[in-house]
């Protein structure tokens, strides 16, 4: 009787120490749920969700401080992916946050740019290059289309243009035909 109690006690202490050690040794730094939510967000960093960037929004979702339907660039597909991940019901995009639209990029009209650097400071992904009193330009391939550079521009020289869909980026359209019902007599 005593032996078995001691044995079980010793085993319990041994495993407890093992688990305690493992908890320290294999500690997971960040909350993996946040990482996984962040991976599903489009990373436009546009702030339309009401948070200053995609990661803060991911953190808010994980802490249940924000809903999953606040990301217009992610659109319906993004909401569905988030719902799948979190085991919730998908819901339509919250119109307060904006509407889903085709991807755009911005273009600086270089003749009108006065080189004030305000757009450079506003760009969340450093996609605008230039220096004070020198012309600025957008690195098109890095622009996420967040449009955060538009409001600070004092001379309104930034235009929204459609992302390229010409032949190198061209994509085959969805087949239009739909199956017809077979009528049997």
């Amino acid at each position: 009787m005593l032996i078995s109690i001691l044995l079980m006690g010793a085993l319990g202490i041994a495993f407890g120490l093992g688990l305690g050690w493992a908890a320290v040794r294999f500690r997971v730094e960040a909350d993996p749920v946040i990482e996984r939510i962040d991976a599903l967000l489009p990373q436009t960093q546009c702030g339309q969700c009401g948070f200053p960037g995609c990661r803060p929004y991911a953190e808010a979702i994980a802490q249940d401080k924000a809903d999953i339907n606040q990301c217009p660039p992610g659109g319906e597909a993004g909401i569905r992916a988030l719902a799948d991940l979190l085991g919730r019901e998908p819901k339509p995009l919250n119109p307060e946050n904006g509407e889903e639209s085709a991807k755009t990029v911005v273009l600086i009209d270089e003749t009108r740019c006065i080189g004030c650097t305000l757009c450079i400071q506003a760009c969340p992904v450093d996609a605008i290059v230039g220096a004070a009193k020198l012309m600025h330009t957008v690195i098109k391939s890095e622009c996420t289309g967040c449009n955060l550079c538009l409001p600070p521009c004092p001379v309104d020289c930034i235009d929204i243009v459609a992302a390229e869909t010409g032949p190198p980026h061209w994509q085959r359209p969805k087949p239009q035909t739909a199956p017809v019902a077979v009528s049997l007599q």
């Binding site: 990373q43 436009t44 992904v125 450093d126 996609a127 032949p167 190198p168 061209w170 085959r172 359209p173």
Partner: protein, 531 residues
């Protein structure tokens, strides 16, 4: 029957050792375009040279409106892809968007050249001593000459060769299996230029560091096979073998051909170089020979103009930029009620909206179909799960399953089911009793998957840039805060302040020594005042 000599290791004689799954035996329709010898058509009035002629990026133009160009002069440069060259000497009439023989049917930037008829070449720089040239210089010359795979996929040759070289290729396969019906340009090339093909094969082999070359030819191309085995270059070369393969569509596909020749399967998502193989079209080999021994850039190709809608079907050696209407005219014009113009074969080709579209690197065939050949679009019926599509699929996929996934937008699942391995050969389309446009769905789906991959890469990049920026801003803020605290600390520290003031007074005293009024009164609180 193989005509091999000086064979390599056993089983590698070039003997056909395998077969691929599925496929179809199709009617060839090749003879009608093989009767006439290949000729160059007369120069057209205008050459319309698209700047996008390859898989990948668009070239940047190097010429401007009004420039005079010489034949073979580079007119478009591409960082990663193949260059574009002027097909004839003349003047640049314009740089504008024109129809450009692209599946999208969209117009794109083209260089429009008005030939002056003098056909004056620019200075060519051949690597005549190619036997002793370094493989890198050979591959560099291929890039400068704008070589791209002429089988139809137009993958830049230099990129394929570099990859093959890095991965220790042992065998070069020359693809002379032109399995799509109607097309006969490779067959005519093999009949008329066998020496050039063999020479190109030897150059490619040297550039790759490979040991052997296997030239695969369809069993029904007797004349081409004979021309190759009879030519002097072939009998002089070692370790080059000719293999006859049965004509089953789509045997000309790189993966299918490798499976037939070696019995090995190129892994999905992998490349032939994973197996130590590199596959090039015979026409590419001939172009390599021209590029290395004569320094001539790729400005023309063999093209079949055929179909029941063409008066006298035949093959041409046409300059890039030649409008297809000009070629049709040289064939005696259209015949009958032409309903559709197809670039490429009937299985994998795409329709042209206009016959003003030019010949490009990818154009192997122009097919004019008459009204009664173009099948009426039949009503699509629901899938009955007969499994015919899976039976004929050369990539051993499950087209019916992929079709349902594509329709429902289940891209992740479709990818797991191997959608990207689809070669778009059209076999499943042809056998489907419900007339479902399966390949259209797969092309669309592959585009969606590419788009998803692009978007993922872009969002990954944006995330990194955002995080880097956040880190930078934080660092700057921290540095500023530290500076502030240091300053405040300094102001607080009375004794230190006194020391500093004394030191500065001393400095000032040295400078102002002997000058009247150079006295400085120091107050108790540490501030100083000039009197």
């Amino acid at each position: 029957m193989t005509a091999s000599r000086q064979g390599g290791p056993a089983g590698a004689e070039g003997q056909q050792t395998g077969h691929f799954h599925g496929g179809l035996r199709l009617r060839h329709h090749k003879k009608i375009s093989c009767a006439a010898a290949v000729e160059r058509p007369p120069l057209p009035e205008l050459l319309v040279v698209p700047l996008l002629q390859q898989a990948g990026d668009m070239a940047e133009p190097l010429v401007r409106r009004g420039d005079t160009v010489l034949k073979g002069q580079p007119i478009g440069r591409c960082q990663r892809g193949a260059a574009v060259h002027a097909p004839a000497s003349g003047s640049v009439e314009a740089l504008e968007d024109r129809p450009m023989s692209h599946p999208s049917g969209q117009p794109g930037p083209c260089v429009i050249i008005r030939p002056d008829g003098r056909e004056q070449w620019c200075r060519l720089e051949p690597l005549s001593d190619w036997q002793n040239a370094s493989p890198d210089s050979l591959i560099g010359q291929m890039q400068d000459c704008g070589l791209a795979g002429l089988g139809g996929a137009v993958f830049p040759t230099h990129a394929k060769m570099r990859d093959g070289r890095e991965r220790k290729t042992h065998t070069l396969i020359l693809n002379g299996v032109e399995c799509e019906p109607w097309i006969s340009c490779d067959e005519m090339l093999m009949r008329e230029q066998p020496g050039k093909i063999i020479l190109g094969a030897r150059i490619l082999r040297r550039a790759l560091g490979a040991e052997r070359v296997v030239i695969a030819v369809e069993d029904q191309m007797e004349t081409a096979l004979k021309a190759l085995s009879d030519c002097a270059e072939f009998s002089e070369s070692h370790n080059i073998s000719l293999v006859k393969v049965p004509a089953i569509y789509p045997e000309g596909g790189e993966r299918q051909l490798i499976q037939v020749l070696t019995g090995l399967e190129v892994p999905a998502g992998g490349r032939p170089s994973d197996l130590g193989l590199v596959c090039q079209n015979v026409a590419t080999a001939a172009a390599v020979a021209e590029a290395i021994t004569a320094g001539k850039p790729l400005i023309e190709r063999y093209i079949t103009v055929t179909g029941n809608g063409i008066a006298h079907p035949r093959n041409f050696l046409a300059l890039f930029g030649t409008p297809v209407a000009h070629l049709v005219e040289c064939c005696g014009g259209y015949r009958g009620d032409v309903a559709r113009l197809v670039v490429g074969g009937p299985m994998m080709g795409f329709s042209l909206d206009t016959d003003a579209a030019p010949v490009v690197k990818a154009s192997n065939c122009l097919l004019a179909l008459t009204r009664d050949e173009v099948a009426e679009p039949q009503a699509e019926m629901p899938c009955i799960r007969c499994g015919e599509c899976a039976r004929v699929c050369p990539a051993t996929l499950l087209p019916q399953q992929l079709h349902l996934q594509a329709r429902s937008g289940l891209w992740k699942q479709a990818q797991e089911y191997g959608l990207t391995a689809c070669i778009e050969c059209g076999c499943c389309d042809l056998v489907c009793p419900s007339h479902i446009p399966l390949v259209d769905w797969f092309r669309y789906g592959k585009g969606e998957l590419r788009k998803l991959a692009r978007e993922n890469a872009a969002s990954e990049l944006a995330r990194r840039r955002f995080e880097d920026r956040e880190a930078r801003l934080q660092r700057l803020q921290q540095e500023r805060a530290e500076k502030m605290t240091r300053r405040k600390q300094m102001l607080k520290d009375k004794t230190m302040q006194q020391d500093r003031i004394r030191a500065s007074i001393q400095r000032a005293g040295h400078k102002g020594a002997g000058k009247p009024g150079g006295q400085i009164d120091i107050r108790a609180d540490g501030t100083s005042d000039d009197t």
